[in-house]
């Protein structure tokens, strides 16, 4: 492998139901910064069926070039045809960096692609920069939390290309879009022939109606097992409404079947960094803290004064969340009246 043959920063432009996922724009935003440091440009790889029309929005968010792999085999995300699509693009176009979102799709696709093209893959990165590793310049340095967020490691991939990373959604900043911006569009189809690795899809079941994403919320009112019952989440809804925010929850609440997975904050849920995070009856397992500790202001209400959530809270209130929250909602409403 001649490493000098590999040029450019590529990002996987994830789309579901022919809608570009936010992570694609976030990866372009970070990709532009890395490309500037390397003196190269950013290519978005868009795979799907009838998706060519989505290329313009990738251009508006900063992509210099869009490679479109359009095929009926890519209509619904399936591991094998998508692996074939992305691995083929890598083999043909030889990027030096390939970024993929650490979404459910990206964390399935990334490992399979990296194994097929025989390179390393760093999972769930929260920080990326170009730097020097063991006297080799212009390396991608990939920083990620491990151990439920308790350790931080910076990883390099000096002898293989592309340097691949999955990147946690909600961490990188997307650029302000430039309306009307255009990118070079390259259509490429490596051919799709079903083999024994193709899996048949029998059914797609959507569990919850599409709602706003907690990752976009400026204010989150988050509930844990300490709320006592699913009914008590009603008071959190009212508080969130008074503050103009949304309700999220801990893993225990999802495991208990009180709330859907889409509302879960934490290592196996979503990473959030709102301006205000109010943790209500959440004890604060380290996996939860990993998903919310970057919030600007954290308020925690819990009756157990030894709860670990107080270790990251700016303001901790030891008390009965079910009594405090309704009165707080009332006070906020009065202050705005």
């Amino acid at each position: 492998m001649d490493l000098n043959d590999y040029k450019g920063v590529f990002i996987f432009a994830q789309q579901v139901d022919n809608k570009i996922d936010n992570i694609a724009y976030e990866l372009i935003g970070k990709g532009k910064e890395l490309a500037a440091a390397l003196g190269t440009d950013v290519t978005a790889v868009l795979a799907g069926y009838n998706v060519k029309g989505l290329a313009d929005s990738l251009a508006e968010y900063g992509a210099d070039r869009v490679i479109v792999v359009d095929d009926p085999a890519l209509e619904v995300y399936m591991t094998e045809p998508y692996t074939h699509a992305i691995a083929s693009v890598i083999k043909k176009f030889k990027p030096e960096i390939m970024l993929v979102g650490a979404t459910a799709i990206g964390r399935d696709l990334g490992p399979r692609v990296s194994a097929r093209v025989a390179t390393g893959l760093t999972a769930d990165c929260t920080f990326l920069e170009i730097g020097t590793f063991h006297e080799k310049e212009n390396q991608l340095l990939m920083t990620r939390p491990a151990f439920g967020g308790n350790t931080i490691a910076t990883i390099a991939c000096p002898d293989n290309r592309p340097q691949m990373a999955t990147v946690r959604p909600g961490v990188m900043q997307k650029l302000d879009p430039t309306p009307g911006a255009k990118a070079e569009v390259v259509e490429y189809n490596p051919g799709f022939t079903p083999d024994h690795k193709y899996v048949e899809i029998l059914k797609v079941v959507k569990e919850v109606a599409a709602t706003a994403d907690i990752m976009d919320a400026k204010i989150l009112v988050s509930g844990g097992r300490g709320m006592g019952s699913p009914e008590n989440f009603g008071m959190l809804e009212e508080l969130a409404e008074a503050l103009g925010g949304m309700v999220s929850c801990s893993r225990a609440v999802v495991d208990a079947g009180w709330k859907p997975k889409a509302m879960q904050v934490g290592q196996t849920g979503k990473t959030v960094r709102p301006k205000l995070y109010i943790a209500c009856g959440i004890s604060g397992a380290i996996q939860h803290l990993a998903g919310m500790e970057e919030s600007d202001v954290i308020i925690a209400i819990n009756k157990d004064e030894t709860a670990p959530i107080f270790d990251v809270a700016d303001y901790g209130i030891v008390g009965d969340v079910k009594k405090i929250v309704p009165k707080l909602t009332e006070a906020i409403k009065n202050s705005k009246a």
Binding site: R107, A115, G319
Partner: protein
Amino acid sequence: MKIIVCIKQVPDTKGGVKFKPDGTLDRGAMLSIMNPDDKAGLEAALTLKDKYGAEVTVLSMGLPKAEDVLREALAMGADKAILVTDRVLGGADTWATSTTIAGAIRNLDYDLIITGRQAIDGDTAQVGPQISEHLNIPVISYAQKIEIDGDYVIVERQFDDRYHVLKAKMPCLVTALSELNKPRYMTPGGIFDAYDAEITQWGRADLKDVDDSNLGLSGSPTKIAKASDKVRKGAGEKVVLDTEESVKYIMQKLTEKHII
């Protein structure tokens, strides 16, 4: 039917987790456990065994003390246990780990391989899909339900707001979520038998069709540039007040921070 379950011994991050005064993790205070997603994968295999009849082999790569989790798996009802352990395999990243495990699995007959989605120490979720790629078989990640239909496995694969029902011809690899089930306890008889059971040990020489250049620390494409225990943001204020005073306190802070 033959099922292989890959399990990993990991430090427990629940309960035993303690922080040092400087805010970093106190590793000495932690117990070793079977990784929770892997345990759910083992339970899924044992459930299939109860229902359809199967031979369940558990396989772990790690230090010699990883024998503990293999004995636990035997006590839960697994039939055979294999430990892949060798100094030259140490320091492996996910590429070298998956190459090693695939090399071990090539010695075995199997219809289904089950791994956990991810381990709680590394959280990468990479090794399962990478093993399947090395073995050139299909993979279905994030299984929340696993059923067998003749030569096929039918799996509910969870995504954020939806799940897919997928059908794959075996041999196939499935990665399991801990939400999949509630693992059974070891039985007293099982614990007794597992104590004496033979655990097969394999080293580098037992791996099939793998090159030394893809093993261990030197065979890992990713290298650690630096690692540190994360210093957590310190705790802020903590107050104990009655309900009225608590509300006043929060209102004052929200006003100070220009949130209301």
